[in-house]
């Protein structure tokens, strides 16, 4: 027996180590459990959940070894870029300033144009009792490391629970959504990108209003695989967050449809590949959404008010200009109206239907006024 162990010592050690890790792997794998409890829940959205507490502690230890080095390299890089950008590379600053001023002027005009639409949209939302979730507070964080594997699209950010970050909070950039927080440590957090295979988000196609779920595909692509072939879906269509996943606020840019192809492995569904709105490969600074609210934030309210004022001012100016132009230009003079003629305004009275040729109880006017009716069905005798 001893000779057996001595002879196969190396192989036995390998088998034992692989076996232990296989068992550990089996323990870690979590199957979706919420599906049975809530039939409306989508299984695909039940992925990308945080680890159990023990695994989180292991990840925290692992990350703690590297995080100080990553912070150091990131800080050194930032310092060098700061020195270069602020003291050395100032050649085109004046031109950039001029271009930015022109862009601000253009954006002000656009803002005025959109203000009226925004007011109308909010009025309709109020009528429909729709509660829009606006981003109330964010925490800016910097990306300090990656997972180092193209099988796992995850990055490490330099803010953690000490800044109030929590698991499953949405992470965005000004360009669009980026991902959500997976494991949050005291001074850092893992950000699961939307192109990770275990990631998922609820989206809506902007023009066709079709709802779908995005997740990461092979090679770091973002895909929709739960839609069948539909002629309304075409490349170039913009995708927005639908808010249905309870993670990302509604209406944030997600990406643009890049290609649509049949999915041979999941017929009859199609594989729709997106180009993410945010550059997921070159993330440097991100915003973690730490709070949402149903009212527009105060700063946005001020912007909207100023835009409305600008819009009113510009429309008044436009009217005045139009009136001035009308006075100067020759116009058709209408003949004087007959004072004895009846008013001819079509909107002065509600339209009346033509009288019925064979009136019955459904004809207009045949129904007795509501004040003469009594609630409830008529008694049996009366009906007979």
């Amino acid at each position: 027996m001893d000779s057996f162990f001595a002879r196969f010592k190396n192989s036995l050690v390998l088998i034992a180590i692989v076996l232990v890790q296989t068992i550990a792997l089996a323990v870690q794998i979590q199957r979706p459990q919420a599906v049975a409890a809530t039939p409306a829940a989508t299984p695909s959205l039940d992925i990308g959940r945080p680890d159990t507490r023990r695994v989180t502690v292991l990840r925290y230890w692992t990350g703690s070894v590297l995080t100080p080095f990553e912070r150091f390299f990131h800080g050194a890089g930032l310092h060098m870029r700061h020195v270069w950008g602020n003291y050395v590379d100032l050649r085109h600053t004046r031109e950039q300033n001029q271009a930015l001023k022109q862009e601000v002027a253009r954006l002000r005009e656009e803002q005025a144009a959109f203000a009226e639409d925004a007011v109308q949209g909010r009025r309709i939302q109020a009528m429909l009792n729709f509660r829009q979730q606006y981003i109330a507070s964010t925490v800016a964080a910097q990306v300090i490391g990656t997972s180092g594997s193209d099988r796992s699209r995850m990055v490490l950010i330099d803010k953690g629970s000490d800044y109030g970050l929590k698991t499953d909070q949405a992470v965005i950039t000004p360009d669009g959504i980026v991902g959500k927080l997976r494991d949050v440590f005291p001074h850092s957090a893992q950000l699961l990108l939307i192109n990770d295979p275990t990631s998922g988000a609820g989206v809506i196609l902007q023009s066709s209003r079709i709802r779908a779920i995005i997740h990461g595909g092979p090679g770091g692509r973002v895909q929709i695989t739960n839609l069948t072939d539909d002629s309304r879906i075409s490349p170039g269509e913009h995708i927005l967050s639908s808010g249905g996943d309870q993670v990302f606020p509604r209406g944030l840019p997600v990406g643009v449809i890049e290609s649509i192809a049949p999915d041979p492995q999941h017929q009859p569904y199609t594989a729709i590949t997106l180009k993410p709105a945010a550059d997921l490969a070159r993330l440097e600074e991100v915003l973690v959404v730490t709070g949402t609210q149903t009212n527009l934030p105060a700063a946005a309210e001020q912007d909207l008010a100023s835009a409305e004022a600008t819009a009113e001012g510009s429309s008044a100016l436009t009217k005045r200009a139009a009136d001035l132009a009308a006075e100067r230009l020759p116009s058709i003079t209408e003949p004087p109206a007959d004072p004895n003629a009846p008013p001819s305004d079509p909107n002065s009275a509600p339209p009346r239907p033509a009288p019925a040729l064979h009136p019955d109880r459904y004809s207009p006017g045949a129904t007795p006024p509501a004040t003469d009716l009594t609630p409830g069905s008529p008694p049996q005798k009366e009906r007979d």
Partner: protein, 174 residues
């Protein structure tokens, strides 16, 4: 001056490393693996920890040592990803064992042998990872991309050769 006499190929080719090298080189490899793709995303195709596992396993010519080194580096790598602990641990344990076992029979100071070994073991690791993700974990959307894996093996082999020559400086005979 002490004289050494070696009686077998295993003894002739076994090397040891300073504890600091044993500790710092894998940490540096994992750190670079996490940092380099941040600077240039295509570098995600690299697998520096794998190169280090193969190097230490081949240099020590000890399958148990190779297995343990591969397991520890693999688990460390798993801790930085969203994957379960054990995926890289199992794959690199097998790679470490095989690299050390092959080291008995093949002269791995030869450049061509090093190229062939790195290329084959890199491909093998891709296959093992695919099998683990597909059948053990059941990860959604797992697909084997043969061309991508061939490219990965080629690039990692090209990186491994100078890394091996650099790390050769730190080895010494027992």
């Amino acid at each position: 001056m002490a004289e050494h006499s070696y009686t077998s190929r295993q003894e002739l080719d076994q090397y040891a490393f300073h504890p600091a090298v044993t500790l710092l080189v894998p940490v540096a490899a994992v750190l670079l693996q996490a940092e380099l793709p941040r600077l240039w995303p295509p570098l995600l195709i690299l697998d520096l920890p794998l190169i280090v596992v193969i190097f230490f396993a081949v240099a020590r010519r000890n399958p148990i040592s190779g297995t343990v080194t591969g397991t520890l580096i693999g688990l460390f790598q798993d801790g930085l990803t969203t994957q379960q602990f054990g995926i890289n641990g199992i794959a690199k344990a097998i790679i470490g064992y095989l690299a050390a076992s092959i080291g008995f029979t093949v002269d791995l100071d030869n450049l061509l042998n090093r190229i062939g070994l790195n290329f084959l073991l890199c491909l093998l690791q891709s296959g093992i990872l695919y099998l683990i993700e597909r059948f053990l974990v059941g990860a959604p959307g797992t697909r084997l991309q043969p061309l991508h894996e061939l490219l990965r093996a080629g690039i990692n082999t090209a990186i491994a050769i100078p890394v091996f020559f650099f790390l050769d400086r730190f080895r010494h005979r027992d």
